[in-house]
């Protein structure tokens, strides 16, 4: 048993070294060739669909047998339409501008030195993720386009799908003239190996994608930088000067349009002066979508008076990420109280104010410390596509390196390049 474990770890190390070596070649490969690889992947997702779907069916059947719930099963499942969607997404990334090689902030110093920055890939990006097999394609394609190698560790529940998809990617990459070792996949599903991966010196950065537990495990145990995020406790504050119609529409959209994602609303904060007018309208609207309201004392009274059901909020409702059709409701006496609540309970993801007051809007934008801060719009917009990045590898709630949606550029670094003419420092 001991020797088997050692060899599994040695295998990981060998894959890490292969990825590292491939990443050196990837760093200065032309956009043309990288795009060719992406087009090959897009084509193969259509032409090799039988193979992928067959592998996916194995995962699906095993998962159903093991009693996986229907929401999870749905995430796991691939079909022709989904493969077509994935193929289109790959082509969309191919169409994006290549960030690598951009030279910026270049200037000539008084001594004649030309000093600037040149955008370069990071190296080897590790990805630790769960369930959805499309993440295998998404992350690989974003890493390849940005000139990085990728080291993938997906969930054991999708091992057959991922194995087939990685085989497809590596073949497509090789045909385009890229090193196939730029895509490494851990086919050993032994969970204890994750701890080893998180200490590997050949991986330059780790992106965890999955539930809160996975993300915090990776953040706490990785020795390389981690781009964490995805935990969104999102508030929408309805100011006393809010336009009631905008407020109802924004709150409804933020809560209902897709409740299972990180940028969905969790807590509605409302100014006491607008509560009487706003709450009955909002509660009626949310009731149509079967949203369950957990209300503080003041708001509970008003909601009940309007004939809508609601339950009293408890302490654990504040700061809770519901990921479902539940919202907490909190009444405040002032903008300051709203800001203090958000500071205490927010997760630094997406926060919104609905107001017609200039100063309240500006103060909210300035004082809320989150990746995305909105005036008069739904927090559901926090997304790489919606923000114009084209695609995203995740949403960072950190402040270092990248914050908010992370696209191709966020998978790069830079180096300083200096053109001299014999200059020496006096």
């Amino acid at each position: 048993m001991k020797t088997k474990k050692i060899s599994a770890e040695q295998e990981l190390e060998a894959k890490g070294r292969a990825a590292k070596e491939a990443s050196r070649k990837m760093a200065y490969i032309s956009t043309e060739i990288k795009n060719k690889a992406l087009h090959n992947i897009a084509d193969d997702l259509i032409s090799k669909q039988d193979e992928i779907l067959k592998a996916n069916k194995k995962d699906y059947d095993a998962a159903r047998k093991s009693g996986m719930n229907s929401a999870m099963l749905d995430r796991l499942m691939l079909n022709v339409a989904r493969l077509e969607g994935m193929s289109k997404d790959v082509l969309a990334v191919a169409a994006l501008a290549d960030p690598v090689g951009e030279v910026f902030e270049m200037r000539t110093m008084p001594n004649g030195l030309q000093i600037g920055k040149k955008r370069v890939p990071i190296g080897v990006i590790g990805a630790i993720y769960e369930s959805r097999p499309n993440v295998t394609i998404d992350i690989s394609v974003l890493c390849l386009k940005s000139g990085n190698a990728v080291f993938l560790r997906g969930g054991s529940e999708t091992i057959h799908s991922n194995t087939a998809l990685v085989k497809l990617i590596r073949n497509a990459v090789k045909r385009a003239g890229l090193p196939e070792d730029a895509v490494q996949f851990v086919d050993n599903t032994d969970r204890s190996l994750v701890g080893h991966i998180l200490k590997m010196k050949t991986i330059d950065m780790i992106v965890p994608r999955g539930g809160a537990q996975l993300i915090s495990f990776v953040a706490e145990n990785a020795s390389m930088p981690v781009l964490t995020g995805g935990i969104g406790v999102c508030h929408t504050y309805v100011d006393k000067t809010a336009d009631i119609n905008k407020a109802v529409a924004i709150v409804f959209n933020a809560k209902v349009q897709r409740p299972t994602v990180c940028n969905a609303l969790d807590t509605i904060i409302l100014h006491k002066d607008i509560a009487k007018e706003f709450l009955p309208l909002m509660a009626a609207e949310l009731a149509k979508a079967k949203v369950e309201l957990h209300c503080d004392q003041k708001s509970l009274k008003l909601v009940k008076e309007s004939g809508i059901k609601a339950i009293p909020a408890v302490a654990s409702d504040w700061g809770k990420e519901y990921l479902s059709l539940v919202a907490a409701v909190k009444t405040v006496d002032s903008l300051d109280e709203a800001l203090a609540h958000i500071e205490r309970y927010g997760s630094g993801h997406s926060e919104a104010i609905v107001t017609e007051d200039y100063t309240s809007g500006q103060r909210f934008l300035n004082e809320v410390d989150a990746a995305a801060v909105y005036v008069n719009a739904s927090t559901r917009y926090t997304d790489g596509g919606q923000f114009g990045l084209g695609a995203e590898v995740g949403i960072s709630t950190q402040k270092m390196h990248a914050r908010g949606p992370m696209g191709l550029k966020e998978l790069t670094s830079y180096k300083w390049i200096i053109y001299g003419n014999g200059q020496v420092r006096p």
Copy 2:
């Protein structure tokens, strides 16, 4: 003993919380007030010099008594001229543009949303450093100007100097109307507390400044992001087409101008075709400055033939950071061999090529993976001041967040700000 330890850690936590709270106020304080604080500090470094020098003398006398070597003693010592220099440096930072509040990449999306990024401070910057008391002023001033709070832990050998300087800074800051708690200082010199600091949740980022041992201890043990760097194993490659005069001047400058710093030259790599002409000139020049050469076989022969002393290089010479008047010399058959040597032994800090060949220069710039890559200039230029940043908190050899000299901008993050008009996501 147990209770005493607990209370020291509780004290650290209290300082961390105070810094965190102050950082929230610092985030939206005007540039005017921040500059006022910096001017106060600059003034006080002159007007309160007696107090500072008295405290510094205590450290100096104790260090001399304990047998500290003269180079270290010199680093530790303050005098009127040095305080005047520090005061001028503070004014230089005050004169720099404030990065905080800059709005960039702002655009209007097709749906009318205005989406952009706004530069914000990171929060609380931790600094763990050794000997030079001026670091206390440097880092505090850079953090304050960039809207951050700072949590300082200096060396025990400078405890009296640092205590006096921090008292000066906090007083100057307070008079300007900034929260004095934005500057926290650990006056307990118990080394075991450093481990606790590295796990504090109230510190957002750590900058270690000091020797290789300190830096790697911090990098390995910190739970927050660390901006490491400062280890520079720097090569200068003299290509076969190099202009001999430029090559001699650049190598001499990179090695001799200030050998004790991270961007100084460690290894000279030279193409075999230029060795015969270049080496005797270079060796004679370096001999004038008493540089000791550790040569590979080929270069040793040539140097000795020219009547200059040199010793044979051993395996440990490659990849060694000398920080003194020693240089290794390595002969190669090709640019590829030089690139491979740098990839294997470089620390990703500063690397240079001397060449008149267009393609060799371009290949070197593209293929060398380092924070700063030079054509025909001395690696000694890798410095915040020389690169036009005005001042630096250190030189990063990481690829995440910041690479190379880190100035005010590198002490900031950004948030996405979104101005809407009632938009909801379809």
